[in-house]
Amino acid sequence: MGIVLSTVEQGLIYAILALGVYITYKILDFPDLSVDSTFPLGAAVTATMITNGMHPLLTLPASMLAGALAGAVTGIIHVKCRVRDLLSGIIVMTGLYSLNLRVAQDKANLPIFGTDTLFKNGLTAALPDAVADYAPVLILLALVVLCKLCMDWFLRTRAGYLLRAVGDNPTVVTALAKDGGMVKIQGLAIANALVALSGCVMCQYQRFFEISMGTGAIVIGLASVIIGTNLFKNLSFLRATSAVVIGSILYKACVAIALSSGLLPKPQDMKFVTAVLFLLILALGEVRRKKVKAHA
């Protein structure tokens, strides 16, 4: 039971990141590599604020703001300086690495053990034991559902409609006499705000900041988005945002299954088994789709 719970918890944390990646990758059609450093940026902001005695709740908007700024910079570099999308992400990712160290008070590893966090504070300590085990997963669930609902709402607004149009058909945006570049910058800011929020939550969950925690974040994000959207393509009642959240939990479940010692001939084979599990999920999704088509 414990392992299922912790897998869901971590899946939910990365689901926030995956929602951000969904905006850039699926909606804007922008491969945004800055994610690898905006994730630790959120964590760095959080660790520094908490070690300086600030309230854990304050870290959420603060890291989102930091992430939004970084995302906007990626957008400005791309739109205003006409740098290729991949490269503008790389530029921000590279530069932020040093900045993250500065934010974390020049430390590559900043622990926040022993201080109040989102998951361990006076409030959660007062909970009865039976509920306390589920406190983190409930807090995370609330946070993820809130993010998802906000995003669903936003995508239905005028600004959200423009955002979708920029990725799908930029001419429409121009025809509406809107600046497509501004919309892109906006989208990148929102996406990276979510990514940094995910980093903020991760930092409070693991209770330390580590500069290398962003390595491969974009891979997790992309995999979650693709697993989620591919697997649930035909379920029209499931919004893409929900599919992405489930995708992220599935991603973490694959790793958890690969880690559970029975499957591994050797610990070194963990990544290979994870890769095979991904392939299985995607292939199963494909088989199921063909069956649906055959019945139609």
Partner: protein, 324 residues
């Protein structure tokens, strides 16, 4: 089919009998290692040897679940959470980030965390300033014997003034080691020139800039730099400058010499601590330990290549790695 059943039944009986023979309690421990890395592997082997010496033998009365995070923080967390949610008697965490992850995950359970290869347990918040634990956790530190290293370099290179150190800015252990190098270097008449990198790909450029400024290089236990040691040795060799390692594995690979820790011994010491915890002592009551004495490991071929002769007083205590 019947035959197969017979064989199966027989096998089961033999197995059950074997299990029944193994007397007493069986302990289950988890080993969470951060990355695949010579020193960390030595730590793990030493840990199991230390446990065995104290009567906890893998395969007899000890079950070991070994997992490696392959330097991925996300996976390190999953390993830690997975181990903490199992019914283990103890978690051994090798290297700082995974030690923190395990300590965090096991908080609230009654599973003790025993760490090793953590350079600065106080900075990592695994111990307080006075050496006591911050929770159900204890272990060993692989703090570098920096003063001994400086002394050794001085005796081998009496004319040298500048020592170059390459380190990655992402490793907290390297930062604290450099701070200590810089504090101690003036006592031995050295100046430390550092060059920070963020990825393996930066190493060649950083070396080209660093080597002309210095008389020799001295390594830390920096994982990124140590992983690229052959490249570093190549470049330094071309420039005719000696490289001093931080532990025996590096000297085996071609560093000239090192005042180093024996990671196998460090692991063994950790294993002995783990045995105390398994026997009933509380991890929180055992202060963390540091290996204090270092040994001089020497690679005579590498020394000869840069034209250095080992002074006699040093030669007496030197361990020749070619014989290891």
């Amino acid at each position: 089919m019947k035959k197969l059943l017979c064989i199966l039944t027989a096998l089961t009986m033999v197995l059950t009998a074997g299990l029944a023979l193994a007397e007493g309690e069986t302990y289950r421990i988890g080993i969470a290692q951060f990355a695949e890395h010579g020193s960390l592997d030595n730590c793990r082997e030493g840990f199991l040897a230390g446990l065995a010496e104290n009567g906890f033998v893998e395969g007899e009365n000890l079950e070991v679940d070994y997992q490696n995070a392959q330097a991925d923080m996300g996976i390190a967390n999953q390993i830690a959470q997975g181990m903490a949610s199992g019914d283990l008697d103890l978690i051994c965490a090798i290297a700082t980030p995974i030690a923190q992850a395990c300590f965090n995950a096991a908080d609230g359970t009654d599973i003790p965390t025993i760490y090793t290869a953590v350079t600065d347990p106080v900075a990592a918040m695994l111990a307080t300033e006075d050496g006591t634990a911050t929770g159900n956790v204890t272990g060993t530190s692989d703090k570098l014997p920096i003063e001994a290293q400086l002394k050794m370099i001085r005796s081998l290179m009496p004319e040298a003034t500048k020592i170059g150190i390459l380190y990655s800015t992402s490793e907290v252990n390297s930062e604290s080691a450099i701070a200590e190098y810089q504090a101690l270097a003036p006592d031995y008449g050295f100046e430390i020139v550092v060059s920070g990198i963020s990825a393996t790909a930066d190493i060649p450029l950083a070396l080209d800039a660093l080597l002309p400024q210095v008389d020799c290089l001295s390594n830390l236990t920096d994982n990124t730099v140590v992983s690229s040691l052959p490249l570093l040795l190549d470049k330094a060799g071309e420039a005719g400058k000696p490289v001093f390692g931080s532990e025996v594995e590096q000297v085996k690979l071609g560093c000239a010499a090192s005042e180093g820790l024996d990671y196998f011994a460090l692991g063994k010491q950790t294993g002995a601590m783990a045995a105390r915890v398994l026997s009933g002592e509380a991890a929180a009551d055992i202060p963390y330990e540091v290996i204090s004495e270092s040994s001089l490991y020497v690679n005579y071929d590498a020394l000869a290549a840069v034209g250095i002769e080992l002074p006699e007083d040093q030669a007496a205590r030197a361990i020749d790695v070619s014989t290891l």
